[in-house]
Symmetry: C2
Subunit: 551 residues, 2 copies
């Protein structure tokens, strides 16, 4: 039985889910010991702790030394030492591994990757703890987003890659009638060949969720991959890469098909990105480096997710309290460090109609601040929901934001019961007007949001649209009891090419994106040029090389 046969049901489930976009997940998001095993959580945590301060067990070609780059937002000493390898050695090793991977074909590759993914799933608690320590995510989020949800996105990418490749027949007999003469008959073969090395550049906040789609899409379509994790979130990537390499070796394939690239020298990543052998780059991160890649790594097709200004428009609501609680959770979850977290909330300056009567702009500001405060003032909830602030620079941005307008809710530094050195800061909310465009039209990454008083509900739409079109976004929300107003927001979402959530009041949040159902980023505005997951995310990662001869 081939690995493809072994995992066929998993693939078929994914293909069916992608086609229906109904709810589906083969990887339980519930961390319950009943599902994952009584000792799974402790075992996973222990596995990570055993790595701290050690050489990470990964042997790659061209190793020039070992480096430890991670600083945990929880204040935990990491000290895991990873191999630094020469760019040339990584490139050469990837190229050497490619032909056998090409020859394996789409089904063979899919089987190997599904086996690897299944093993990744078995180590969810270990990866989750690595995600938590390196990113600052709260434990539950690290488990869900770093584990099953990331695995879902990986499976989704593998399924789309399979679908796109299955669209190409392996061979054909072409028989062209020639009137009374015998037909011309050609035998044709169609081979799928990757475009070349895929470089997958991870981010500091979601080292698996944002890395897996590019990693598995590039591999599945026949390309070697070099994973360049964010220096602060290496461990989750290192475990992932090691698992894939282990499966490759077991299958008699060259493990150097997938390698980890890490260096303290920025020139190292730049050289990788500019290598003529690198055909695609998956990148999640800043506009600054994204633009550098666009300008300098011109030989590669770039799949990029960068900064945006996610927005919510509040026109009216018939569930005022539920709306506030929903928004408060969105603003608080992982201290607003999700690429989907709302930054700009547009509210008419004359206030809104609600099921609790008319509310002035200031009242909405105060009530939203109170809803956030209720979350973060509860010590048990606070640290679990907020997690820690990933980057020190974010603390600076929080302070700076407070000077940009009227502070509706001040950020507080909070203690963590377990990690005394954790960097925890509650959200800051600042009230602005449409005149403050210079402030709200740029991404202020972190637990920072702006409540923007607009001249009218019409002008909320206009200001949101121009900001979204110019700076992009992954998410847009609207609250309105007026179907005509919602329809206008739908049209806005089409023009700005941004996903829209309407009147969220229950346990779904604008910043959540469920694999197999929600397309993450449209890929059609400045915040991202690709989407998890569409055919466009996979179809251009390979080419078809045909051959034909007379039959």
């Amino acid at each position: 039985m081939t690995l493809f046969d072994t995992h066929r049901a998993l693939l078929d489930g994914a293909l069916a889910a992608c086609a229906s976009r109904a709810y589906w997940s083969p990887f339980p998001e519930n961390a319950s010991p009943k599902i994952y095993g009584e000792t799974a959580q402790a075992d996973g945590q222990a596995a990570v702790e055993a790595l701290l301060g050690q050489d990470y067990p990964l042997q790659q070609p061209g190793e020039t030394g070992r480096i430890a780059t991670e600083r945990s937002p929880y204040g935990v000493e990491m000290g895991v030492r990873y191999p630094e390898c020469s760019v040339d050695a990584l490139i050469a090793a990837a190229q050497a591994a490619e032909p056998a991977w090409t020859a394996l074909g789409a089904q063979g590759r899919t089987g190997v990757l599904l086996e690897a993914l299944t093993r990744i799933h078995k180590r969810t608690h270990e990866i989750a703890h690595a995600v938590m320590l390196t990113t600052g995510q709260g434990p539950m989020m690290a488990f869900q987003a770093g584990g099953p949800h990331a695995q879902d996105r990986a499976l989704e990418a593998i399924a789309y890659a399979y679908k796109a490749q299955a669209d190409v027949p392996a061979e054909a007999t072409w028989e062209k009638p020639q009137g009374k003469n015998p037909p011309l008959v050609m035998k044709k073969h169609f081979n799928i060949v990757g475009r070349g090395i895929g470089l997958v550049i991870g981010c500091a906040t979601f080292p698996t969720w944002n890395t897996y789609p590019g990693l598995f899409a590039a591999l599945a379509t026949g390309n070697p991959v070099i994973v360049k994790p964010h220096p602060n979130a290496v461990l989750p990537a290192a475990i992932t890469v090691s698992i894939v390499r282990e499966v490759l070796s077991e299958q008699g394939l060259d493990p150097n098909l997938v390698t980890l690239a890490l260096s303290n020298d920025p020139a190292h990543t730049q050289a990788l990105a500019k290598s003529p052998a690198v055909a695609s780059i998956d990148f999640t991160g800043s506009n600054q480096f994204g633009r550098w890649l666009q300008d300098n790594a011109r030989q590669a097709r770039l799949y990029a997710e960068m900064a945006g200004v996610n927005s919510v428009i509040i026109e009216s609501t018939d569930q005022y309290s539920a709306m506030l609680n929903n928004l408060a959770f969105t603003l608080s979850l992982y201290s607003g460090q999700m690429c989907t977290t709302t930054q700009n909330i547009y509210i008419p300056k004359n206030g809104i109609q609600t099921d609790q009567g008319a509310k002035s702009f200031d009242q909405v500001c105060d009530d939203l601040a109170a809803a956030v405060r209720a979350l973060v003032d509860n010590p048990r909830v606070a640290t679990a929901v907020l997690g820690a602030v990933c980057a020190p620079e974010t603390v600076g941005r929080i302070e700076e934001a407070a000077g940009k307008g009227r502070v509706v809710l001040a950020s507080q530094a909070l203690p963590h019961p377990q990690y005394p050195n954790a960097r925890i800061h509650s959200p800051v909310i600042v009230a602005l007007t449409e005149a403050d465009r210079a402030t709200f039209a740029n991404e202020c990454f972190g637990p920072i949001s702006f409540l923007i008083a607009t001249e009218s509900s019409d002008s909320a739409l206009a200001t949101a649209q121009s900001t979204l079109c110019e700076h992009g976004a992954l998410t847009l929300g609207v609250y309105s009891t007026d179907r005509a107003y919602i329809d206008r927001t739908v049209q806005l979402s089409h023009r700005a090419r941004v996903a829209l959530s309407i009147n969220l009041t229950q346990g779904v949040y604008v910043n959540q994106s469920a694999a197999f159902s929600d397309y993450h980023a449209s890929g059609g505005n400045p915040a991202a040029n690709a989407s998890y997951t569409t055919l466009a995310f996979v179809a251009d990662r390979f080419v078809v090389v045909q051959r034909r001869e007379h039959a």
Copy 2:
């Protein structure tokens, strides 16, 4: 009955053909009066002649004047005056036409485009004559490549676009279990939205065949299109654009969804290409302008077909005469002005084994020259097969090529029985060695080929591979009776990502590419970054904009 229903069988036929890649064409390539009508040829020719020296009947926004830019390689006075329109007006008109086109949905758009294509087909003879006069193609080739074969490629693009869009469900109900609590239920809608204006830049030699794929792919996926034909081959594009506009108007849609852009000022095209509203550019043409687009039109996704060095490797053959005749036809057809015509023929310097005994390198050269001479010395065949030389610069290149090595076959200027001012030149063939890489490693567009004496059959593979990888190609051929050698060439074709034809001796030529079966260009080497037609050619031309709300 909607247009989609009307043309459903045509679409289904195309989808089935693309899936099987067996022979299929709904548009007869036989120009017989029995198929196209007794007067069709004369009517088509008359329709074109009625346009010569006239204002072309096309009314577009922002017209600033009329210009006539075409110089026929047959020496026919064209003088058709087309509208020159301001860039801003064309962009604004395209944008205004977009929302209704988006709202029509994939099926609606597909129906409209299939109706337009059906009407284009009805005017095949007219378009064919326009192609012949403007490009210099012989009449039969102008009919087939300019008519049914181009229409096949259009249909193929529409079918792939439909398939990629059909992969996105219109809506879904997402129901997530919550243990003992009621499930979370979200209603989701998924809308397909084009990326923005498509600019389709045509070439001088195949104004329909190379324009239709981008034109119809961009339109089908929800984008307005501005067609910028080559100034020397406007008429086929103008007729096409007019037909699409006519169908749009009949359907109550804005005809400015598709416009023709023409100007004598290069800044006009450059401004179009650089417009932030232009989201994609389909380009067939020179490396020079292709590189300009890559460097300057960075906001747009570029689908480009540029120069390459198409090659054939001769190792041995058991059908020597048939091989020579096959190659001679390839080199002669449309005077080598196809993007798929062989330029470099690699032959071991010690000669080859054949069914007619061993042949020295010089003998193969002489015999191939004789085979070409047999074609071009037959006056009836010569002008029909050669057609005319499209660009005056090509004549210069022919002369220059003769100075690059030993002339095996000299080019001759030939008279045309019907068009006294036609620019007709038979092929030049020049013998080189591997040391002449500076000559043969670049594209010498036109009826120019190089017979390259290689050290050995191994070194033929090595030289071909390095040239193909570095400079790209759309086609590669091999002649060998040794299956192991052929297998090595197959591996070479995978590395260079180039389509391979093996031992062609019958009525199929390396420069021919049949829609629904042959992928034209792999898109994976420097000669082209896209392929007619793969999912990759269509899938990134639109994005999915979703909305969701609690059910």
